[in-house]
Symmetry: C2
Subunit: 508 residues, 2 copies
C-alpha cells in the first residue's frame, strides 16, 4: 500500500463527499435512468492493468451518481430515514482502516468491549429497563445486528428453539418434528415485511393478526388467536409487536400484549426500528410502557441516531436463550476467556460468524454529538413533520389518514384510491421528491417521512409546494378531460341527432 | 453537518490510519488486556454535550488500539485473512458518504446495476461457468452477501423450501410438517462451523459426514449416506461441499459429489470462502473441476480479493429458486420496473431487507488494482506459504500434517498433542504472532496462514524464528524439568534407602 497515494485518494474522496452532500438539493432525488442504463455504460471485464483512482472518481461522478436515488437528500421522503453524520462517515473510514473482526473476545477484545459500552450507553439514553444492560446483574445485554430483519430473525429463531426444548420436556411423548410442525407465531398485519419473511425463513407460520381501525394490535386480539391455536393443538411461540409500523407508525399496545404473552409463556419481541428514537424523549415516555415485560427489542441506529446503515441495536432480557440456541463451536474458535458470564462472544448472538467493528462508528457519533445532539435530532424531525401536517390540514383538498407520529405524516387527496395513485405517479415522474404509498383496509394513502441530512423548514415547504401543485395540475387535467369528455358527449349527441335526422331524412 | 470540520476530521483520520498501518509491526499482534480492561477505562454514559473529535481520536489511540488484535499485521497468522487495500478503505468512506441503500432497483438503480457489473466481472475473472453471470441467457447471477455464513444459510433455506414444494407435489398425501420433519442435509466434518449453524437455524439436520484421511469428502461417502436416508424415508435436500476447509484447506471432490447430487436431485452448494481465490489462476484450474454442475457457490472477497470485510460473493445457477422462496412483498416496496427477469431486486436474494452499497468498494478495489494485481496478490500469498513450508520441512523437530494449500501450512512439533498445545500456549503468551490450532482424528496441529497487509518474506522469517525458538525453549525447559525430576527421583531413592536402613536399624 502506497501511503502517499492513499492520502491523496482519501483527501480527494472527502472533497467528493463534501461536494456531493453540499449540493444534494440541486439534484432530482430520483434518477432519470431506465433499467440497464448504468450497466450499459460500464466495461464488461475487470481492467487487466490498474487504473488511476482519478479515473474511478470521475466515473463515480459521471456514471454512478446520476443513477442513484439520493437517500441523504431532504427531498427523500419515502422510507424511514437512513441517517448519517460526519462522525459516522469517518467512523466507517476508521473501521475499514483498522480492519479488525470481532466474532469472539480474543479476536479483538476492544471491539467486543466497546460494543458492550455503547449498547449500555444507548440502553440508558433510551431509558430502557435496567435488565437490558450488560452491566446489570442478570443475563441481559445488547448487541449490534446489521438490520432490523436480522434482529427479528434472531428473536424468532431463538424463541423457536427455546419452545422446542421446553415443549419436549413437558411432552416427551412427542417427537421433535411433531413439535416443530405445531409451532405458530404472531404479529400484526401492519408489521414490516421482514417479519413475514422471518416466518418463511424459520419455517414457522407467523399469523398476521388484523390490527384495529387505529392500526394498533392489542392483547385481546392476540389472546383470541392464541386460545384458538392452543385449542387446535398448536404451540404459540413468539409475538412480534411493533412500535412504529412501516405504514403509519402505529404503536402496538405492549402492555396488554405482554400480559397475554406472560400467561401463555410466549416470547414477546418489540420491533421499534423507527419509533425507538422516541424512547429518549421525556415527552414520549408513554411509548416505553410495558417494555419491562418484553423479552427482546430492536431499534435501528441508522433511523434516528445519526449512525449510518448498517447498525441495528438489539437487546435481550436473557441472552443465554440465544447463545444456547446458536452455539456450534469448533476448536479453532475457542479461547481461554470464553464464557458468556464473563464477556460475550457476540458470534453466538447473531446469524453470521464474522462481524464488523460497528461499535466504533456508534462511539464516535455519540461522543461528537452528545446526548443533547441526539435528542435534538429526533425533536427536529418531529417539528418538521408537524410543519408538514399543518400544511396538509390547511388544504381542504387533502385529508390526514392516521395521526402524525414522530416524523411521519400519512395523508391523501380526498377521493378514491385512483386519485392517490395518479398523484403519486405524477410526483414520481417529476422526480423532485420521493414518497411511497401504503394501504390499510383497501384504502391507499401517501406517506411523507422527514429524512435526509440537515433537513430544514424550507425543504418541507418545497415538498409541500410540489405535492399541492401537482394535485392542482392533476385536478385541472381531470376537469379539462371531463370538459372534453362532456364536449365529446355533446358532440356525439349532436351527431346522433344529426344522424338520426339524416336517417330520418334518408328514410323519408 | 459542518463541512470544514468534516474535512479536518477526515484528514486527521486518514493520518491516523497511515500511522497505524505503517507501524503495525511495532505492536504485539495480540493485546495485553484482560476481560473488561477496556470497558473499565470508558465512561458509563453518553456525554451530555458534544466532545471534540480530537478527544475521540486520542482515546481511540490510547484506549482502543492497545485492546485490539491486529488483523492487518503480517504476524496475524490465525484465521484466514481479512484483507484490505487502499481502494477498499476509501471505498467504505465513499459508501458511507453517499449513504444510499439498495434493496430494490428503484431504491438506487446504480447500486443494483454496479453489483450486477462487478459480480459478472468477478465470475469471469474466476473463470466460473458462464451460467453464473447475470449477462448469460439463463436465470443465474451473483449477489454480494455479508459473509460466507449468510451465503450458506441462503442456499440451505432456499434448497429447503424448494424441496418442500417439489416433494409436496410428488407426495400430496403428506402434510407439509411431515415433509419438513424428514428433511436432511449433508456436509463434511471438516466444514466450517457456520454450516452446522445453518442447520440449526434452518431446523434441518445437517449430517457431518466423515472426510477421508486426506480430509476430503467424496461422492461415495455422500452416496452411502443418501441411500441410507432415503431407505429410512428421509428426504435429502442439500449438500454443502467445501473448497478450502477451515482446518487444512482441503478440497472436497466436487465432481463425484455433483454426480451423486444430480442423481438424487440434491442441491449442491460449494463453500469456497477461501480457496475461491485460486480459481483465478491458470495453475489452479484443477480447483474448478465440477463447478459447472453445482447450484450455488460462495467466495469471500475479504479473504483474497483485497476487499475488506464484509463482502462475500455468492452465485446462483437459478436465482429464481431463492427469489421464489424469500419474496414477501408489501405495497410500499413495489415499483414499476419490478421483475427479476429484467433487473434483480436484491432484497429477494438475501436474508435482510436493507443492504449497503458494497459493490462500490469492490469496483474501486478491482479497478485500482487491476486483474493483474489481484492475481499477483493470490500468488504472493502462495509463495510466502511455500517459504514457510520450506522452513518447517528443514527442521526435523517438526512435521507437516496436511499438504500445503494456497496460503495455509498445517504442521506440528513431533510428539503428542500436549507438546503442540504447550508450544501454542507459549507463543500466545508472548503475543508476537497469532496462530490457532485445529484437530483431525484426535490429532491436534497448528495452522499458519499468510495474512496481513503487505506481508513480506522477512515477516515469514520473523514468524518462523518465533515458532522454532519457542520450541527450543520448551524442549530445554522440559529437559531441565526432566533432569530435575531425575535428580528428585535419585534423592527420593537415597532417602528411601536411608529410611529403610534407619528403620532396619531401629527395628534391630
Amino acid at each position: 500500500m502506497d501511503f502517499d497515494e492513499f492520502r491523496e485518494f482519501g483527501h480527494a474522496s472527502i472533497e467528493f463527499i463534501i461536494n456531493y452532500l453540499s449540493s444534494i438539493r440541486d439534484r432530482n432525488v430520483l434518477p432519470s435512468v431506465v433499467p440497464y442504463e448504468v450497466f450499459n455504460q460500464l466495461p464488461k471485464e475487470i481492467p487487466e492493468k490498474p487504473e488511476h483512482w482519478r479515473e474511478v472518481l470521475k466515473d463515480l461522478d459521471q456514471i454512478i451518481l446520476p443513477g442513484l436515488t439520493h437517500w441523504q437528500s431532504p427531498y427523500f421522503n419515502a422510507f424511514y430515514p437512513s441517517s448519517s453524520s460526519a462522525g459516522s462517515i469517518i467512523g466507517e473510514l476508521l473501521i475499514a482502516g483498522i480492519g479488525v473482526l470481532g466474532f469472539s473476545w480474543i479476536c479483538s477484545p476492544a471491539c467486543t468491549e466497546l460494543e458492550v459500552v455503547v449498547m449500555d450507553w444507548l440502553a440508558k439514553f433510551l431509558k430502557l429497563p435496567e435488565h437490558f444492560q450488560h452491566a446489570s446483574e442478570g443475563p441481559g445485554g445488547g448487541v449490534i445486528q446489521g438490520s432490523a430483519s436480522e434482529a427479528v430473525l434472531v428473536a424468532v429463531l431463538a424463541a423457536r428453539e427455546q419452545a422446542v426444548v421446553s415443549y419436549k420436556e413437558s411432552h416427551p411423548e412427542l417427537s421433535e418434528s411433531e413439535i416443530r410442525g405445531r409451532l405458530v407465531a404472531y404479529s400484526s398485519d401492519q408489521s414490516n415485511s421482514c417479519i413475514e419473511k422471518a416466518g418463511v425463513l424459520a419455517a414457522m407460520p407467523i399469523r398476521l393478526l388484523a390490527a384495529g381501525e387505529d392500526f394498533v394490535l392489542r392483547g385481546e386480539t392476540l389472546k383470541a388467536a392464541i386460545e384458538e391455536d392452543v385449542a387446535a393443538g398448536r404451540i404459540p411461540v413468539i409475538c412480534i409487536a411493533t412500535l412504529g409500523t412501516t405504514g403509519t407508525c402505529a404503536y402496538d399496545d405492549i402492555e396488554s400484549l405482554s400480559a397475554v404473552c406472560e400467561k401463555h409463556k410466549v416470547w414477546l419481541h418489540v420491533d421499534a426500528a423507527y419509533a425507538g428514537g422516541g424512547f429518549a424523549l421525556e415527552e414520549y415516555s408513554e411509548l416505553r410502557k410495558g417494555l419491562d415485560r418484553v423479552d427482546s427489542l430492536n431499534f435501528n441506529l441508522h433511523k434516528f441516531m445519526l449512525v449510518n446503515f448498517d447498525c441495528s441495536a438489539m437487546w435481550l432480557r436473557d441472552a443465554n436463550k440465544v447463545v444456547d440456541s446458536f452455539n456450534v463451536d469448533r476448536i479453532y474458535l475457542k479461547h481461554k476467556h470464553e464464557g458468556q458470564s464473563q464477556i460475550p462472544d457476540f458470534r453466538h448472538w447473531q446469524i453470521p460468524l464474522g462481524r464488523r467493528f460497528r461499535a466504533l462508528k456508534v462511539w464516535i457519533t455519540f461522543r461528537t454529538l452528545g446526548a443533547e445532539g441526539l435528542r435534538n435530532h429526533v425533536r427536529k424531525h418531529i417539528e418538521l413533520a408537524k410543519q408538514f401536517e399543518d400544511l396538509v390540514v390547511k388544504d381542504s383538498r387533502f385529508e390526514i389518514v392516521a395521526p402524525r407520529a414522530l416524523g411521519l405524516v400519512c395523508f391523501r387527496p380526498k377521493g378514491d384510491n385512483e386519485i392517490t395513485s395518479q398523484l403519486l405517479h405524477r410526483i414520481m415522474e417529476r422526480k423532485k421528491i420521493y414518497m411511497v404509498k401504503a394501504e390499510h383496509a383497501g384504502r391507499q394513502f401517501l406517506r411523507f417521512v422527514v429524512c435526509g441530512m440537515d433537513t430544514k423548514p424550507e425543504d418541507i415547504e418545497f415538498a409541500w409546494a410540489e405535492i399541492e401543485s401537482q394535485l392542482t395540475g392533476l385536478l385541472e387535467e381531470q376537469a379539462l378531460a371531463s370538459r372534453k369528455a362532456g364536449n365529446v358527449a355533446d358532440l356525439t349527441q349532436h351527431f346522433q341527432i344529426h344522424l338520426t335526422t339524416d336517417n330520418v331524412e334518408k328514410s323519408q
